[in-house]
Amino acid sequence: MSSRSDPLLRVENLKTQFFTDAGTVRAVDGISFEVYEGEIVGLVGESGAGKSVASMSLLRLVDSPGQIVDGEITYKGETIFGLEEGPDGDLREREDMLTNEEVRTRIRGNEIAVIFQDPMESLNPVFTVGSQLREFIELNRDLSSDEARREAVDMLREVGIPDPAERYEEYPHQFSGGMRQRVLIAMALACEPNLIIADEPTTALDVTVEGQIIDLVDDLQAKYGTSFIWVTHDMGVVAEICDRVNVMYLGEIVEQAPVDELFYDTKHPYTEALLNSMPRPDRTVAELDPIRGVMPEAINPPAGCRFHPRCPDAREACKRIHPENREVARADGQPHRAACIKHDVFGDEYEESVPLEGRAQETAASATDGGESEESGVESRSQSGNGSGSTRKTDGRRGGDDRE
């Protein structure tokens, strides 16, 4: 990741919404990120953060009633999605935007391939593994049926499936979960795409298999130089495999940084909370610090910063100000962006603001803490230990839903 030329994929202000009876679900709400050649970019967040919708939007494969409503997706200079203002002032699709047919034939599979989360369900139960692999290869590469077959067998061997020629003839139910995920990886690589979207590919697998699959992808990525978007909720996987990370919360990217920078100099309280909730060998289960509450629904996101109802650092200003993702630091010549008004670049609103009721703050709050001490269980947290050096008190309630 040395020379920063044009990115392979550029996503700008992407918005994908679902128009349901209950209201408009803003599943992806203005995210921007890039993927450069040969890198693995993480898209991290809790369930419902909009990671999968975001990644499917890149292929223009959002299921009804979902729709991409704004933003721009450029891949290798081609416009997968783009809007412009028409003569009547309304937004309309840009002239150079690829048609559905063009996206299907030129992008899906042969340029951007996908590995889905559930290897048990992703393969068609009534066709042999080989025939499915061959079908996708034939469709996305100019190969004859025989050549595609040979390629399929080679690829099965490449992903570590023993006796690939025999397994080619077998059906998905004859494969274990890990083996099926290997087949899906073979599928993606066999189409020779430049970008692979891996949508929680190891979530359905047990931990030992997960490790094998991650090692496999790491090796193959090095060999083929394919870029990856790795969608996951698991910070451990991120640390292991990603070059750069985008942390998503409720449809927005709240922090964006190279992986080491993200872990050692965390800038957003949500990322920090994610890191604290991660099981690690140096901490007992009792020391795990789950994030309070549940993520609100994207139909009616909280005003101001969307994380403020659950944020241990939230202050009055957080309820008002909706922070955009701004560069707060630089690491190795790359930007570290965070959407949190704690940081200086957002001005001093945060500093001048009072902490939100019921939330004990490390510094400013200690003086006024007395009045709120009926909020029992205020306890001291141990050093969070992730290198960011932040020590703070949070109230002891865990997992309780204390949204306003």
Partner: protein
């Protein structure tokens, strides 16, 4: 190899079912009120001795279980007994009547499949659109209307009012055109279809309605499958997804439904044959019941029961053949 053993296993499992069918029918037929000998004599005044002689001739004087065992022994040798009323072997009567019934049931299924599958797919792809609602109403009417009523309405409209199609009887394509006085085979084929059309629709509507709803549900489910999502993500054309990826998976339950609905189809055939005056097994069955012709009732029940059991076995085997996940009971 596994498939062969599986088939053999299913056949063996069918034996107790068939024995059960014969026992129950045998008991029910003998419990029914009315005495076949008196019915045969049609009220003629005869002395006890004549009755006793007739009873001895047909073995009716012996206890029930003995008669059953004798009967089953004969059945295993291919002898279904002798019809008292018609004075002919039951097997001969059945052989004569099986053709029309098979023709009717198979054509009704062909009609049902040919219409239900495309309609079900259309309804699935246009879910909750007007087409889907219309198909739902049609299916509801089809399921809740008895086949004989549909038959009568069809006769009223197409045979009596419009005069387009004949209202009774069938023309059998396996006979020579001369027997009907037709000019040749093309006319024989044409007349066969003309005669078959109304009873086929009358009997097939229920099957069509059921299959269409199942096809719709299965297609909707299949189209939401992860494998469809995967195929889309790899640029497979929507046409191919519909016809191949989603379709293949969706057909598995259809096969089951066809096999299990064989019972309603055969039951419906009895009434349809009656309405359309078709000389099939169904009408023979009704006549046998009316005249308490035990041997004939038993024979027909065994044949229909066997047809149903064979149908279910064929269903199971074809299911195992089509769905690779079905194991043949060896492992898993």
């Amino acid at each position: 190899m596994g498939l062969l053993r599986y088939t053999a296993g299913r056949v063996v499992q069918a034996i107790p079912v068939l024995i059960g069918i014969t026992v129950i029918t045998f008991i029910l037929a003998n419990l029914a009120p009315g005495d076949p000998v008196r019915l045969m004599l049609q009220g003629q005044e005869v002395n006890q001795e004549v009755i006793a002689r007739i009873e001895r001739q047909y073995g009716l004087h012996r206890p029930l279980h003995e008669r059953y065992l004798t009967y089953m022994g004969n059945v295993l040798q291919g002898d279904l007994g002798h019809s008292i009323h018609r004075d002919r072997p039951v097997t001969a009567l059945l052989a004569q009547r099986a053709g029309p019934t098979l023709m009717l049931v198979l054509s009704a299924y062909a009609f049902a499949l040919a219409t239900a599958i495309p309609l079900g797919i259309i309804a699935a792809t246009r879910r909750n659109e007007p087409t889907d609602h219309v198909s739902r109403i049609v299916a509801l009417i089809g399921v809740s209307t008895p086949s004989f009523w549909i038959g009568i309405v069809l006769i009223l409209i197409f045979a009596i009012q419009l005069g387009w199609l004949p209202s009774s009887g069938l023309v059998y394509p396996w006979r020579s055109p001369d027997q009907y006085g037709y000019s040749g085979y093309p006319e024989l084929a044409y007349q066969t279809i003309r005669h078959l059309l109304l009873p086929m629709i009358a009997l097939g509507t229920l099957q069509m309605a059921t299959l269409m709803r199942v096809e719709r549900t299965q297609m909707i489910e299949s189209l939401q499958g992860e494998y469809v999502k995967l195929a889309r993500a790899y640029g497979v054309p929507e046409r191919t997804i519909l016809r191949k990826h989603a379709f293949q998976v969706a057909q598995l339950p259809i096969i089951t439904i066809i096999g299990l609905n064989l019972s309603t189809a055969l039951g419906g055939a009895v009434l349809t044959e009656y309405v359309f005056n078709i000389n099939g097994i169904g009408r023979l069955f009704l006549e046998a019941i009316q005249s308490l012709d035990y041997q004939l009732i038993m024979g027909i029940t065994i044949v229909i029961g066997t047809m149903f059991v064979v149908g279910v076995i064929i269903t199971d085997i074809s299911y195992a053949y089509i769905d690779p996940r079905v194991t043949y009971g060896e492992h898993d």
